[in-house]
């Protein structure tokens, strides 16, 4: 694949940068509506690279570098939020009731959860005390569970998010397990490429948009699509990594590069061009069939008033929306390498309107 070492670590500086960003971002959890937590990291890079930075009314963070003479406007979109447990109320027993949209509740019992500096456990009954009937009932729903922080009880206000208390862990030679890799994996690729970038092409206007509230309805992308002006959008997200239990046509192996989308929401001609650019710089890519809604911000970004072409590029990720998602760091590295190449291409290198 890329310049990876024979044993253990990759010799590639970009691999090291990607891993470093993954670890740094894992320590900056941000639920939908909290994307401003990423502001310091983004502002520092924006300043170094000569980008302006602003936050719009819904919370999208926009880092812009207009071209000297703009012949092409490109939006690079990556959502900055991650799934969380949302507190409803604290009961008389001190347990915090919650909802968990987009999360399979079956892995929640026994999970360690974090609210600020406090750690709690999602309640369950020990096996010795389950009678046969209880053992055969259906799995609990999120409404059946509480988070127990022990004592003293923390002040958790209704509507506040609680995070999976999950520390990043290296699995084997190339893989990383952590919470929030959807979509920190893509963001790490963007930041690693942006940080490494020598110069941008002068005739392309670039906007790096860290979008808000993707996990709860893609509200940031919807808002952006009505206000931003761009010719094409590259949407970076994650997709279903194969562990052997997913339908083979709906999942992708780890370690073979990011997946370019094919379907109405990911322009096949743009995708083919992107694949060719990847081949030119030695990056493996895969294909992801998206016959309808891509499930990404791209679904709304395509609907900007002038119409825009969108291509999705997604990093395969196992165990999506769980406390320990897993990516192959080489896939993040390859994505960063591809972005690095794209950042430096002049406008004429991009496929034009039909």
């Amino acid at each position: 694949m890329t310049n990876s070492g024979a044993e253990g670590e990759s010799s590639s500086a970009l691999f090291t940068a990607c891993l470093s960003w993954l670890l740094r971002l894992a320590a900056l959890p941000a639920a939908s509506g909290q994307e401003e937590r990423l502001w310091p990291v983004l502002a520092e890079l924006a300043r170094k690279k000569g980008f302006s930075i602003q936050r719009d009314r819904i919370g999208n963070i926009l880092c812009e570098r207009p071209a000297t003479v703009s012949r092409l406007r490109i939006l690079l979109a990556v959502h900055g939020d991650q799934v969380a447990l949302w507190a409803k109320e604290t009961g008389q027993d001190g347990g915090v009731r919650f909802r968990a949209p987009g999360v399979d509740p079956r892995f929640l019992p026994g999970l360690v959860v974090r609210h600020g500096e406090r750690f709690g456990v999602v309640s369950f009954r020990p096996p010795h005390l389950l009678n046969a009937q209880q053992g055969e009932t259906s799995a609990p729903k999120d409404t059946d569970l509480v988070v127990d922080f022990g004592s003293p009880p923390p002040q958790v206000r209704p509507g506040e998010p609680m995070f999976f208390a999950s520390w990043p862990r290296r699995l084997g030679r190339w893989r990383l397990a952590a919470a929030g890799l959807d979509n920190r994996a893509s963001l790490a690729a963007v930041l690693a490429a942006w940080e490494t970038l020598p110069t941008l092409a002068e005739d392309v206007s670039w906007t790096i948009a860290v979008t808000a509230a993707e996990e709860v309805g893609r509200y940031g992308a919807k808002f952006l699509s009505l206000r931003a002006h761009f010719d094409l959008a590259l949407v970076l997200d994650v997709t279903f990594g194969r562990s052997g239990r997913e339908p083979e046509d709906l999942s992708l192996p780890l370690g073979r590069g990011p997946a370019i989308g094919l379907g109405p929401n990911s322009d096949p001609r743009l995708g083919a061009w992107l694949a060719e650019q990847a081949r030119t710089v030695g990056c493996p890519v895969q294909w992801e069939i998206l016959p309808e809604d891509s499930g990404t911000d791209g679904w709304y970004l395509e609907q900007q008033p002038e119409g825009a072409r969108v291509v999705t590029c997604s990093i395969p990720l196992r165990y999506m929306h769980s406390a320990q998602e897993v990516v192959d760091v080489r896939d993040v590295e390859v994505t960063a390498l591809l972005l690095l190449a794209l950042f430096q291409l002049p406008a004429e290198a991009f496929p034009r309107a039909w």
Binding site: D104, P109, L111, F119, V121, S138, V146, G172, Y319
Partner: protein
């Protein structure tokens, strides 16, 4: 005390693999413990500490078990995931989706959860067959090299302490081990055995040997016991978290000695030590092994929420109460 419990909680030892826990306790005993007459390990791995005793002499025996519930690697998938089977009672539901450590030396793993977007049925309770461990192996052969058959798998949980409660894995029964060590650190006089047993979670296997080998005058077990007072049980909970040391009236396999239990109540009342009854008849402890040999037995338990899972919660006050009750009982036993 907190630092010692953190070491014990984060140490790994499923039934039959208690070596790391035993090594910690042995190091404390050898470097900081009281003068002892006997320290030895039997073929199963029980650690015996004897003060003022000969084997098979009437003595007070205190016991706590070193093993924790966990899993063993039982197979592999073509994609390089590990199949596991439980060692001790674990509901697969609490294993699903949790971080683990595999083998010795440990490598990190995760019991992965397929994405909800693709799940056919999100109401079916996970089975152990659904709990596959991802250690980052890319295929079966690599997985076999990284984690051989029979390798132990434990939950990977960082110990966390506030001023009033502790969160960690294996508090059942590293809390008991801690309290036995704390008792030894007070340099008690004999005749006294402290036995750190093995394989409690798979049938009290170590305690059976200890009972037959030592035949003590009486056995006092120090354990962790469920407190299910958050969520659904409320007032019907087996024990109440924060309600003090729990004393057993009866469990699934033991009829504790009423004389000893009553004496424990008297001590608690006279010393102002918070205590409560362990309500209910479920579960059992190493006490059943001594009871089966006709040895009078009783149990002091620390109420713990969420035992037999990745992370349990214990109230500091309950741990201190159990420790105080244990110390006072041993002190008075020596005097009689």
């Amino acid at each position: 005390m907190v630092e010692r419990l953190q070491r014990l909680s984060e140490a790994r030892g499923v039934p039959g693999h208690e070596g790391a826990v035993r090594a910690i306790l042995q190091s404390w005993i050898e470097s900081e413990g009281p003068a002892v007459d006997r320290v030895f390990t039997d073929p199963l791995g029980n650690l015996y500490v004897g003060i003022g005793v000969e084997e098979a002499s009437p003595a007070l025996l205190l016991a706590a078990h070193m093993d924790e519930v966990g899993f063993l690697v039982s197979g592999y998938t073509e994609e390089g995931l590990l199949r596991i089977r439980p060692s001790g009672g674990i509901d697969p539901e609490v294993a699903f989706g949790k971080p683990v450590q595999v083998g010795d030396p440990a490598i990190p793993g995760v019991i992965g959860v397929p994405p909800p977007h693709l799940a056919k049925d999100r109401t079916a309770r996970p089975r152990i067959e659904d709990c596959l461990v991802d250690i980052g192996a890319e295929d079966r052969d690599t997985a076999m090299t990284m984690a051989p058959l029979g390798a132990m798998v434990t939950f990977d949980t960082r110990f966390v302490a506030t001023e009033s409660c502790w969160l960690g894995k294996a508090l059942d029964d590293r809390l008991g081990c801690l309290l036995l060590w704390e008792l030894l650190a007070t340099r008690p006089q004999g005749p006294l055995w402290c036995v750190f047993t093995v394989q409690e979670e798979v049938g009290l296997r170590g305690a059976v040997i200890a009972a037959r080998r030592l035949r003590p005058a009486l056995a006092l077990i120090v354990e962790a016991t469920p407190a299910t007072d958050v969520g659904e049980e409320g007032e019907l909970s087996l024990t109440r978290w924060g309600g003090g040391a729990a004393l057993t009236l009866v469990d699934r396999r033991t009829l504790p000695s009423w004389d000893i239990t009553e004496h424990l109540v008297e001590i608690a009342e006279s010393e102002g030590i918070p205590w409560q009854w362990r309500r209910g008849v479920g579960g059992t402890t190493d006490g059943a092994a001594f009871f089966a040999e006709g040895i009078p037995t009783a149990t002091i338990s620390v109420p713990c929420r969420y035992i037999h899972g990745p992370a349990a919660l214990a109230a500091t006050a309950d741990v201190l109460a159990a420790g105080a009750l244990l110390r006072q009982f041993v002190h008075r036993w020596r005097k009689t």
